[in-house]
Structure formats: C-alpha cells, structure tokens
Subunit: 247 residues, 2 copies
Amino acid sequence: MQNAQEINGRSLEKEEGRLNSERIVDYIENEIIHGRLRKGDKLPTERRMAEEMSVSRASVREAVKALEAMGVVKSVQGSGNYITDDPDSTINRPLCTLFALSDGTLDNLLQLRALLEIEACKDIITAASDEDIRELGRLMSYDYNAAAREQAKLDSKFHMSIVQLSRNTLVRYLYTTVLRLIDVYRERVLEETEQRGESNLTKRDHEDIVLALRKRDLTAVTQVLRSHILLNKDYRDALDRPYRTLV
Amino acid sequence: MQNAQEINGRSLEKEEGRLNSERIVDYIENEIIHGRLRKGDKLPTERRMAEEMSVSRASVREAVKALEAMGVVKSVQGSGNYITDDPDSTINRPLCTLFALSDGTLDNLLQLRALLEIEACKDIITAASDEDIRELGRLMSYDYNAAAREQAKLDSKFHMSIVQLSRNTLVRYLYTTVLRLIDVYRERVLEETEQRGESNLTKRDHEDIVLALRKRDLTAVTQVLRSHILLNKDYRDALDRPYRTLV
DNA sequence: ACAGCAAATTGGCCTGACCAATTCAAAGTA
DNA sequence: TACTTTGAATTGGTCAGGCCAATTTGCTGT
C-alpha cells in the first residue's frame, strides 16, 4: 500500500504518532473550518475516502463516527455522510457527560444559565424589535394549570425563545445545552414528586420578564431572571450536590 | 449470534433504529453519568465489550472513537481505553468546528469570553484568598518586551489563571475552549503581521485587573476586562466577519 | 409524463487476521 | 533480597474482504 497521498494538493502522509482515524478527522475538520465543506454537503463515499487516503474503510468509519459524535457529520444509511450543524445533538451530549465527570454542581449550571440568558436579554433590549418581544408575550400565555410535565416543557420553550433572540451564535448554542442539562434534572424531580401546583410564581415571573423587556429595562430583567432561575425552590436542596448524583 | 444480552442487569437488546455503536456509546455514557465509571477508570477490553454486547469489535471501536472525540475516553495502545476528562481535547475541537459551521463571528467569541471571565472575577472577589490574588500578580510580571508570540502565550496564561479561580466547573471548561478559539485567530494574526511592540497597554490592563481584584472592586474589574477584551484593536477589523473566514 | 420496479450505490456490520505498544511475570544478576 | 532483563501475553491499531439493509438511480412499460 502507498504511504504518501495527495488530495486537493494537500499531503496526507502517514505522520508519526497520529492514528489514521485522527488524520482523517483532522482533514475533514480542516475542510470545514476553511469553508471548503459546508453545511449540507455530502462527504465522499467511505470506500472512496479509504482508497484516496490509503487506509482501510474501518479507519474511515471510525473517523466518521467521531465526527458524528461531535455533531459535525450525520450518517444516512444507503445515502451518504453529510455535513450538519445541529447544535442539539452536538455539543450537547459531550458536554453532558463531561460535566458529569467533572463534579460540577447544579448550581454551576443554573449560574451559567442565568448568565447566558441575561446576556441574551441585553441583546434583546438593545436590538430586538417590539414585535419580537410581543411574540414572547404570546408564547408566555400558555395554560399554567396544565400538568407539571407539560408546563415544564412550555417553560423551557419560553426561555429558549428569549435566548434565540440573541445575536450571539455561541450563546444560543450553549444555552440550549445548559438548559437541556437542567431539564434532565427537572424531569427527574418530576418523576419523583409528581405534580404540584404553584405555577403562579412562574406565571408572575414570566410576565415580569416580558414586561421588563418591553420597557427595555435591563436592571429589572436581570433581577427577575436571577431570582427566577437561581432562587427556584425546586432546586434548593440539590444545589451543591454534584450533577452526576442527581440524574 | 445472540441478540439479547445483559450487563450489570441492564438490558442491551438490539433496539430498532439505533446503531450498534450508538448503543455502546449510550451505555458507556450512562455508566459515567451515574458515576459507575469515573475519571481514570479503565474500560473493559474492546474484545471483551464486543463479546459481552454481542457485536463486532469494529462496532465497539467506532463507539470508543466517538467517545474519544467527545473527550470522554482516551485510548492508549497496548494498554487500554480510559475514562478521562481533559477539558482541552474535549469540548474544544467539536465546538471549534461547530462554531466554524455556524457563521459565528469573532465578536461572538469575545463577548462570551468577557462574560465568563467577569463571572469568574465575581467568584474571586467574594471568595478567593488574598494569596490567590497575589499569585495572579506574580504571573502578571512577565517580560512585556518578549517576542509577540511568546507574549500572547503568557497573556493567555494570565487570563486562564484568573478563570481557574472560579468555583464553577462549567465556566472554567468553557473559558478554556473559548480562549483557545480566540488564540487560533490571534496566532493567525501574528503570522501575518509579525511583531509589534505596544504591549504596554496589555501590561497596564493586567495591572489594573489585579489591582481591582485586590480591592475587591467588581465594577472596576468589569470595566477593565470589558475594554481589555472587547476593545483590543487587534480584533477591530475582524469583529463582524465569520470566524470561519478568519482561521 | 409518470409510476413501478430492479440494479447499483452506500452505509452498517461481521469475521478473522496481523502489527505495534504496553504490561507483566519469569528468569537472571548483583 | 532487591533490582534488571527479557520474552510472552495482552491490548489497541489496522487491514482485507465479505454480506446485509436502506437509499438512490435509471430503466421500462403504461
């Protein structure tokens, strides 16, 4: 088998120390970072890549699976491997298990959540249209007497909608992940305690948030958000325990 | 070949739709999240896992490579696969290419960086010891006349040291990643423009930061950090261009 | 022009083999 | 006894080549 190869004039020599699959991952990552491969593009066939890079298909597959784990590639049987950028499946899972490994606490999560959401609100206050904010108001008017589980879902949706108005891609991505991590815990709590009313507090908070946004009052929105997120009594008992032990 | 299997009483039936490698990833992730596998632990042999789960070693390897891409596992030839939690190799690369895919701008990055570092400073001001802050001061006193590249490296180290004092695991992790993304760009700039003095500004800022921390003055530290990070003229021309086009 | 079907394509998975780094225990030595 | 050496066993890295299953493609007949 050959050892040196060229693809697009780029050398793919068998470097010392690096695994085949790593080299392939690097190559594809590079193509992406430099814009030669873009969202939706189809990668060459596994068999073809294997041949071009003079490696076995097994190595190529390991690379593809790695990229898929990073959420950069999506495999479709019978069709091909495609570049994607789903922020959900992406950073999400890695960050989740990583966080579990790291003895991070629930409080860590909530703190970051508040940080990101407040940042998004800054953007909203300075740049969002009145219509955008009105839309948030509509999202807010859901049934606050529905089942707890359903309600939690809508609550998440409300907050997600806020953050989606941020102009910062990274903030939107990370918030998605952080909120999901929190939701996992929330779900767990719901399983155990099942139901419980008291969503009036939530309703009140949500109204206050939208109101403050409408007034473009950052101080107010910051205050409400901090208490809404950080002082939620559902979390109080668990704040300082490692997230890992909660889910 | 068998289809149903049990490991630790947990069923691993061949579910519809899920890939073998995915099932294995899920299984291991789960073991981690629930604390049954911890940092430093060694995974079972690839051959053993393959046998236990009734799949081929190829599938197991795809799963292991996926976990490695997420930074959760580290493979060592001849030795084994180990649970790790290196925040560097971890979230870092995925986030990097993902960010490249997403049209995120350099400004997005800097904004988030400021956010995280200021959050860390809050922690420092309320909880760090005077000794910790003195240590920062020592880190700061490096040669501000060294080569630009060397200087950039020390600058990063200084800021990293600040954030490492945060009690929030997630903040520390994310900052590492964000800073690295920025450094990639910075490195690029250095390659092009090569050298240039003017590090007195940096020196001044760093002094101000440590001073403000020493005084436990959050307002001051916030102000200095924001201008230090956001108003750096090196970035000015590139702020609104997609990060992808910069590296 | 369209619907239906069959072949080609493409990813998913398996077997079984060999290499290379590491580990480990037995044998040898000081 | 304690340390070193060394070779076998272990374990990840890679390969070849095959079969299956989903999808795509293109031909065919209406």
